[in-house]
Symmetry: D3
Subunit: 268 residues, 6 copies
């Protein structure tokens, strides 16, 4: 169960409105690697965790924090959309190309659909969907996913940082950068502990089952020679990579039966 305080976790107020930046920030909210993806993935993983309390708790703490990040970015976007141009005349546009940039660079649904408040979409209006999240039941795999979520998210925040000079926006982004550093580090730490326990290959208990002879082979399917650089190097499980210059097709030519006539496949 959750409780809410009206105060934001951190400052989320720009120095001045900027509807184009408002649109771009939607990536950090409703994009593939945005805060909603973090929030829904970590909460789902936490709720379904049956293992060690410390991982469960770490997931739920971080998932709960991410709701606050969604809140901050939603707030920031609403501030950035204040006073955005609704219907500049041709005269005004001709006089001020930067107005034209604002007018056509903003998200038209911010005005038409949301009355100048944030959506749950990415900057191209793509609706956030649960296909962005992961909760597999396997903690090593999911901790790795969480590190990626924080890596891609921090990368995007870093790019957004250089797309504005607004000190208010930058202040919030600097906070998000720091939290995404922490989240990368904490999930890496959890990942490492779990790898120690369950093995570096996910999942850890199929080694005796897999066709082991193909498990450390760099197969070369191109005329590039770059992959050979890894030949002989020691993999994280202690074994060495070999290199196969010309991997052969081992499987024969498939030959399925024509389908039941009632399917009308019209194929022989």
């Amino acid at each position: 169960m959750f409780k809410h305080t009206r105060k934001l976790q951190y400052n989320a107020k720009p120095d001045r409105p900027d509807p184009v930046m408002g649109r771009r920030l939607q990536e950090s909210l409703g994009g593939q690697w945005g805060e909603v993806t973090g929030m829904m993935s970590y909460l789902s993983q936490g709720w379904s965790s049956t293992g060690d309390e410390k991982y469960k708790d770490l997931l739920l703490d971080t998932g709960t924090e991410e709701i606050a990040h969604v809140e901050m970015i939603s707030t920031m976007i609403a501030y950035l959309l204040e006073d955005a141009p609704l219907n500049p005349s041709d005269e005004e546009l001709k006089k001020d190309p930067s107005l034209a940039a604002k007018y056509t660079g903003m998200d038209p649904e911010h005005s038409i659909v949301h009355g100048m408040t944030a959506s749950l979409n990415n900057p191209n209006g793509g609706a956030w969907n649960a296909g962005y999240t992961t909760s597999s039941g396997n903690l090593v795999a999911d901790m790795r996913f969480n590190v990626v979520r924080e890596s891609e998210a921090r990368l995007q925040v870093s790019r957004l940082y250089y797309m504005t000079e607004d000190e208010g926006v930058r202040d919030m982004l600097k906070f998000l950068l720091a939290r995404e550093t922490q989240h990368q580090l904490q999930f890496m730490k959890a990942q490492e502990e779990l790898e120690e326990k369950y093995g570096v290959i996910v999942p850890g208990d199929m080694k005796d089952i897999e066709h082991d002879e193909f498990a450390h082979v760099l197969m070369n399917f191109s005329d590039g020679e770059g992959s050979r650089a890894f030949e002989g190097q020691v993999a994280k499980d202690g074994e060495k990579f070999t290199y196969q210059e010309n991997p052969e097709a081992m499987g024969g030519i498939p030959k399925t039966k024509p389908a039941d006539k009632r399917l009308h496949n019209d194929q022989g």
Copy 2:
């Protein structure tokens, strides 16, 4: 540019048809973490890589291999769908509950839409979409994503392994397990090399910009005490985690302006 050989990379023939297993295998083909996701992510990353040839080549080699995995699984599914029941009578169903299981456990679109061949969907008929892929331009982040792709995929293959006794299906899955071991290991190796060069935090050059005081703090947003276990531990960047038992809201209560009257927000 690509060339194709009609032979499969490895065996992909079951001992006998099984339309329920055919449906389940769609996860490894058109699911979030299936082979199409690998293929399209690695190829995209490879094509957009501007850096060291060895990473570009590793990505393109592996992406090219994944097309062959899509081919193998498509073939396997078509074999598994041979002779699937189209329209068993109530009499037949009453006599044989395992026939009923086949009939209602298979994907109805396998027959209606695809004439008993594979689709590009997951087992619930969800169409594969590019929102599953990642190609960010940042190699550390993307190598981490690739490790996750191979981890989640191998996890699913491991589960599928125990959902069948068919030796033909298992033979193919054992091969895929091994390749996904290799791919996990190779992308980890690349990731480590790149981390050494660019730092373990993605991206590596924002440390002086972020609000550093929040970058190593475990913030406790719950009444669980689990996260405290990480307090004092050394993070991968060499600094120690601190623990904040009661993180306060630092950001004040937001107060945006009412919107332009022409938006009819009807709010004050």
Copy 3:
């Protein structure tokens, strides 16, 4: 069964082309609350209605009218896209920022995909999908949905009205505004009649089953005090709201079992 007349229900011709407005009007066509949503929801509800003829007929009349609205807006958009710039030179753009606004503010798929005619998308190119519609079999719930459809749609049309000065566009919007007034009112009337018969809570026959002690309690999950304003007020079913300042967690800490080993959850 349906018949079509080539004449439009109402005028749908702008005074002059305006590709940016053409893009914005797509919201009223293919957006979440656009005319296609109305048309497909009302027709589906009407076709599946088993109750009083008057509601069934009202739904089918209105659904049939909405097809004509889709037709009108499609026509209007095609007119607005006439003469849209395909490939202005840098010279031309430098001279005329309003041309630049038109060029970059229009939907690129209007030209590339649709040859300057309407799409079935929203202004951000999001394809209309049936997840926007509702047809539940319960008439009270669905009449409420229909009132919302007409409310959100009329709100958007009102906003679009202020985004253009074109008298032709405004003429059509004034007609749509009026029809959406009528549709709001008629669905409200039907809703009220049905509520009288079946109760104001949907569905009306579960009162003896639900845990009644939680059915009129304003639960406060925040440090805001605003919700308390409703305390003691009379709800539409005649009972009074109570206010719970500090709702407690009544459910205990969940503890599911670790999953079957064959799922490789790696969670203890």
Copy 4:
């Protein structure tokens, strides 16, 4: 900002596992009208509200409660999936048709993708998406939407109630039924107050602009006579409905220009 307690808001434990019911409950979690839709809609509306504190607070309180409902249902689904059959033999299926029903009636992705824990999908595996939510900036419209959300959700919970005999599941559903009664009533109350202030037609200030002569006319587009039943009745805005038996097409036959030759429309 949010805080989390590990205790659930209410009991969420079944008497015994039932993977088919686990699948069906996904509708209340990740379906169009499920708890995620409530949670994300109310929070978004609350964060973007600029009006009276009491509505903002009501929205945020309820949105915060809905996160706890997502948590409860996720937990319940995980319990229901305990011991679900992974790979029953044909022999077992032949002996026990109810096992076959469990095996083919469960969601295959519950096992393959989620390791027998909840997803963020509906029972057909459709990923939740933000196109289900609404936050328009207009409070009357959005309060109406919220009443619909609670109506459709309570309808579905009522149906799910009769799809199980499990007393544990029913206990949780009885609680959700009650809360959805409260939420319907509170949002209706807010809606009524706001309608009093802003008018019953959304938005309230376009009456002088719309083509008023079409604003109270029941237009008959079918050979059904049912709609006539509303003729002469008083609409909620105090005016009377008129009935038009044979609405004429007022708009003429449209005639757009052939497109620019460079678009290759090949149409005269």
Copy 5:
């Protein structure tokens, strides 16, 4: 503008309920090639047509008919869902495997979401979306698309025909088969006329611009020799196909610049 008659275009009543068949028929309603795709594509093409009246009219006539087909199939599905099992006991399932097949073979959203009426989804619950439609402005291309729509749809109806013995269902399918024969033939006829006017290659006026030396070459990218069978044959434009056994890569190795440092691509 449209008018509706309450009578169906043709019979749509089964001899007896069959919820599994009800689910399967959703393909013809809300699937990729279902009636909604026909209806929305033909109407959109018709509304945007600027050319010869006869094509415009043919499109609008057929689009209008397809609404009636959506109506018929919706009606049929509702009939098929009558008396579908909501909650059979384990005892009942054990006694009757055909009941189990009905119970787990039906679409769970038919009961939970739609109260046993049709949805706008395919049999796997995938929501119909406008990405299935085509309206390009080019009549030759779109007439070809229409022929495909009718071909794939008739193929699916033919398959559905063999999935039931119900004479009522089959009667409706026989009618749809005939109409889809007509629609294939009429769109082929229109296509041929248009090809005569504009050329068989779409679009017809780029021959002088394309790199003509690659316009009639069968390029062999595999070790299969099958494509060679077309060598020397006369193509529809009168020229002969040539065969290139070993097409070479003509384009060099691409070398894009590293991106702006502010994008943090971390690639050399």
Copy 6:
């Protein structure tokens, strides 16, 4: 199985960067009718083909070529995005409206998400999805689909050709135009051969089953007279079209039963 060469199939280098054109080219990559749709459709059809080797091989050759086209367009887009503006100042925008056009006309996700490399989306950021592909098992139907894919794709390339003056871009488009000519012609040829064998109506063996009296009737559902032009003409199957001026509703008024009370349909 596949092999890759680092060389491109053809030149894919622009004379100079142009981020707006880079965005527009995404249509040919990740749009409904883009190269990914070709690639995934032809490969799927080829892998599932059980018929004549020459069709299987033709499909796989062409599918393999399309991967190379995806590669070329991805490369071209990356070149076009070089040096795109990240954060021009208002001063710069005011001075140069063509800079404003570049800045607001480019895809914001090209910079934020992809670090100035290609995505797998269309120009509006819509993610490519497998609902665009077709693989039905019926070769006549699918060859027709393939002709459409090549027609719509070539149409779009022709439009894109006139949206740029860049000789490098145009060189690549001229190559694609030629290949799409070839692909149209080859699939038409295959289609014709198959039609000769299986009949021009898909599928060919249902003529005795369908209600033949409706199979050659132009039904007029509008006040347009255009369709009559086809009356008496000879259809491709040798029979003549008849014209029905006033098609009557043959199906009666449907009357389904009220649903089970436990579904709460509240409909009498």
